[in-house]
């Protein structure tokens, strides 16, 4: 480094894709530019992993919504007290579950372009912050739907002797299995969301 009023470093490869500014056109580039370009690699890897996780979350959320939405069982007999058909819209909690998981899958599909933008431009902070904010809201909705449905499924499996709520799974075995599978898929989606938020946080920081 020369003692003087400027630092001159010859960086020939940065002249190709650096915008025309007076300092760089003269062949003098600040030291910071070289460091930032070398460290962009891991952010791109994080963005690609984020994109793949997002696709996995779409699969899980769609599976949860569709399995719950198509769950239906009709018993071949009927008794005096129980209705002989069980469907997801008999329970308002399951209706909320289907709607919430559909909203979450729709959001995930719409967030794919932002994820692609952060792959193409690893240094851009804006799309990542946007994704982090909306991922947090979607995580809350997802967890809320999954936990509420899990409470009802637990009740359906075990019943509750204190409130005299009978375990309906003993009659509707297939319905219970489908509904439990949907709840498990929703919780898988919750875990994936937590990873997505962590990845966005790791990629936001300035190295």
């Amino acid at each position: 480094m020369r003692s003087g009023d400027s630092t001159t470093i010859d960086v020939p490869e940065s002249k190709k894709d650096v915008p025309e500014s007076s300092a760089i056109a003269k062949g003098k580039a600040p030291l910071v530019a070289v460091v930032v370009k070398q460290r962009g690699g891991w952010k791109r890897g994080v963005a690609i992993f984020d994109f793949l996780l997002r696709i996995g979350a779409i699969v899980a959320a769609l599976a949860a919504a569709s399995i719950m939405g198509t769950s239906q069982e009709t018993l071949p007999f009927f008794t005096q007290f129980f209705q002989f058909q069980a469907s997801y819209d008999d329970l308002p909690t399951f209706q909320f579950f289907v709607i919430a998981m559909a909203i979450v899958s729709g959001y995930l599909v719409l967030s794919l372009p932002f994820s692609i933008v952060s792959i193409v431009r690893p240094q851009a902070v804006g799309p990542r912050i946007l994704l982090l904010i909306f991922d947090t809201v979607a995580l809350t909705l997802n967890t809320s739907a999954a936990a509420a449905a899990a409470a009802i499924v637990y009740l359906a499996h075990n019943g509750n002797s204190n409130t005299n709520w009978l375990a309906i799974c003993q009659q509707f075995g297939d319905f219970c299995q489908e509904v439990s599978g949907a709840v498990v898929a929703a919780f898988v989606s919750v875990v994936v969301f937590m990873f997505l938020i962590l990845l966005s946080a790791l990629a936001i920081r300035k190295p």
């Binding site: 009023d5 030291l31 912050i129 947090t136 509420a148 009802i152 359906a156 409130t163 300035k206």
Partner: protein, 185 residues
């Protein structure tokens, strides 16, 4: 011009950005303090509610407590864990106010806040679905609405959900603030 090129690289930690980060950290601390009584109040309100009916019928038990329903037990446990976490995270939040450029601890904050958000939302939603069931019942599954017998028990449990959901909103804001502070270091 030559001096400008150097200052571009150095100007990231100018006083303005440091001031904004400090404001964000102070807001983070305040939200944490506000969320603590919400979650603690919810846990206590749910755990201390019980109602004994003055009569006995053949089908319904005459005493209702929070641990009659495992979802309410989970609610109390989740709220207690979250309020303990909020109390323990106050010193780290004060550290962020004093030292606005701490990066790794903010990432730790985001990670732990996300986990606590999931736990709190799960507890609050499970309890909310059971409270809804207790209010309305379900004709198809032959589940009776127990709120018609246990009025004050139902009111107390419904009210304790409010503090928990306010805690959920607080955690969303905390995650947002940590992310904003991380990106503006």
């Amino acid at each position: 011009m030559k001096a400008d090129a150097i200052e571009l690289g150095v100007g990231k930690s100018s006083p303005k950005r440091g001031g904004l980060n400090r404001g964000v950290s102070i807001l983070d601390f305040i939200i944490r303090i506000v969320a603590i009584p919400g979650t603690i109040g919810s846990a206590i309100a749910m755990a201390t509610t019980n109602e004994t009916l003055p009569f006995v019928t053949r089908f319904v038990r005459f005493r209702a407590e929070y641990n009659d329903l495992p979802m309410f037990t989970f609610f109390v446990v989740a709220n207690s864990i979250v309020s303990a976490y909020l109390l323990l995270s106050l010193p780290l939040s004060i550290f962020h106010i004093l030292r606005s450029s701490a990066e790794r601890s903010r990432i730790l904050f985001i990670f732990l806040d996300t986990a606590m958000l999931g736990l709190l939302t799960a507890g609050a939603s499970a309890a909310a679905s059971i409270v809804y069931l207790a209010h309305k019942g379900n004709a198809k599954a032959n589940w009776l609405a127990i709120c018609q017998q246990f009025n004050s028990f139902c009111e107390r449990t419904s009210g304790s959900l409010i503090g928990s959901f306010l805690g959920v909103v607080a955690f969303i804001l905390l995650i947002l603030l940590s992310a904003v502070a991380l990106s503006r270091r």
